[in-house]
Symmetry: C2
């Protein structure tokens, strides 16, 4: 402090051969011209951590996250993770935005997503065991403003789903769930149940569960492409019920072949990562999976 005081005292005398007036002008120049340039450079560096767009940017399809991945975390942690991973599409689960949310709560939720550059592109999966539950799901989607519902309706309620799809004009993607649940074990089962219904009723092709039911999700994407409205990306260890879910790239699913087929059929929806291993601490698994998927996409360009 003493030294600084002494320095300011000296400023009226020539310092390093520069007079005070000149010093003043140099300081002014530094403040007005150079400092903003430096801070702009720093800002630019902070604002643009990536110089290369994500691998999928030039693709028709997008990469997203299935809200279920964050079953044990709130929406803030979900969005923080998505921002960290540079992922911008979220399938909204009702544990993050309850079905009975008020309009104000929905508006606040959407604002929060927008502040992290995340779009809620669909809701679900939602199980629907009655007409009342179907009604509630369609109203919920309408109030949020999405036009895609991922749902699991009882088989006998499909005619009622057909009626609602016509009424609301939404797409309805039935989530298939492998050998764990009797309804909709795989893509073929969904197809057989919906093929004569409104073309807006189709499937959320869960590539893990389809594989666990002994099917080939690459072939199924090709076969049923006209009714694939959403996709769950994951990997699994086997072609039976014992096969369990793990990081993309560590299981038996042929991810390069799947990416090739996504392009071949011109899929334009979202491939949402549904990561189900270590749900208490899924962050490294999420990062590895998204990294792997993007590496495959990039290498196959």
């Amino acid at each position: 402090m003493k030294q600084a005081h002494g320095l300011s005292h000296k400023l009226s005398k020539p310092l390093f051969g520069i007079k005070f007036n000149e010093m003043n002008r140099i300081s002014l120049f530094l403040m007005v011209v150079i400092l903003p340039v430096i801070s702009q450079m720093t800002l630019a560096q902070k604002k643009c951590p990536d110089t290369q767009q994500a691998s999928e940017t030039s693709e028709k399809f997008k990469i997203g996250m299935a809200g279920y991945t964050f079953a044990k975390f709130d929406i803030d942690k979900t969005l923080e993770t998505m921002q960290r991973m540079n992922v911008h599409y979220l399938c909204i689960k009702d544990f993050h935005l309850p079905l009975n949310s008020t309009d104000d709560q929905i508006a606040a939720f959407k604002d929060k997503l927008a502040s992290k550059e995340v779009t809620g592109y669909a809701v679900g999966p939602l199980y629907m065991k009655s007409e009342t539950e179907i009604n509630r799901a369609f109203e919920y989607a309408k109030r949020i403003g999405v036009k895609l519902i991922v749902g699991v309706p009882n088989y006998e309620l499909l005619p009622y789903v057909d009626k609602k799809v016509k009424e609301y004009g939404f797409n309805y993607a039935i989530h298939l769930h492998g050998p764990d649940i009797k309804t909709y074990p795989d893509a073929e089962d969904v197809w057989n149940h919906v093929k004569d219904l409104d073309p807006r009723i189709g499937m959320c092709l869960d590539i893990g569960h389809d594989t666990r039911n002994g099917k080939d999700p690459v072939a199924d994407l090709q076969k049923y492409q006209s009714r694939v409205f959403d996709i769950h990306i994951k990997d699994v260890t086997g072609k039976t019920k014992l096969g369990y879910s793990l990081e993309v790239g560590r299981g038996i699913i042929d991810i390069p072949a799947f990416v090739k087929m996504l392009r071949q059929v011109g899929y334009s929806g979202v491939c949402s990562l549904e990561y189900e291993k270590d749900m208490d601490n899924p962050f490294m698994g999420i990062a590895e999976s998204i990294g792997y998927f993007r590496g495959v996409i990039r290498a196959m360009k």
Copy 2:
């Protein structure tokens, strides 16, 4: 509790039409036959998380970690992370195993690595500004039992390094460091300084720093292949000093072209991830980078 007590009291009477003796036999059967089967199944699931070998398993090169990535973490956290990522090769940094470690400390360190299925394949980077520091580094490597030193010797000490390489029979990989440090900015500079020395003196090709010095690491790997003994994998945002390090796949380095060149030249060393972004919390970045690199390798098979 009351209910349970009542139940045990009732066991001598027929329960659901089963007499106590029969119950006893059923219990015994459950314990002896079924329970071990169930616990075996659970164990099998826990023991074998991956059914597919890592993408690089069939390659000549290996994937490893540069110890520097864990500058802010101890060796336990380092090994836990490597195990999580299924990575088995570590370039040992002296902050994890000090240069003056006793033989017992070195043995304990190596046991710890082995218990996590990790091989310490090299030491470094170590800066060497005197013959004494060079002597110490070679003795350190010898005591650990590795035959590769990643080092940065002052230019004028290269003849002494040459002498030591002949004496110990080790490979010596000079770490290049881009425009930040005057010595060894890129692969070409290392090559020019070592090309007339013992062929065991070469480089650790840091693809990030080489890029930041305006060079193409793909072309440099091809040009200088005979003296590339170690590789640091990373990505950077630009071809100048301002370019900074980030997740593999998010920068400007052409990773698929690099993987292709690794194969073309038959590189048989380690590609070690040196991740330098968010060093206080590098885990998601490490996972994304390794995932991306493996995705590229897999897609290009």
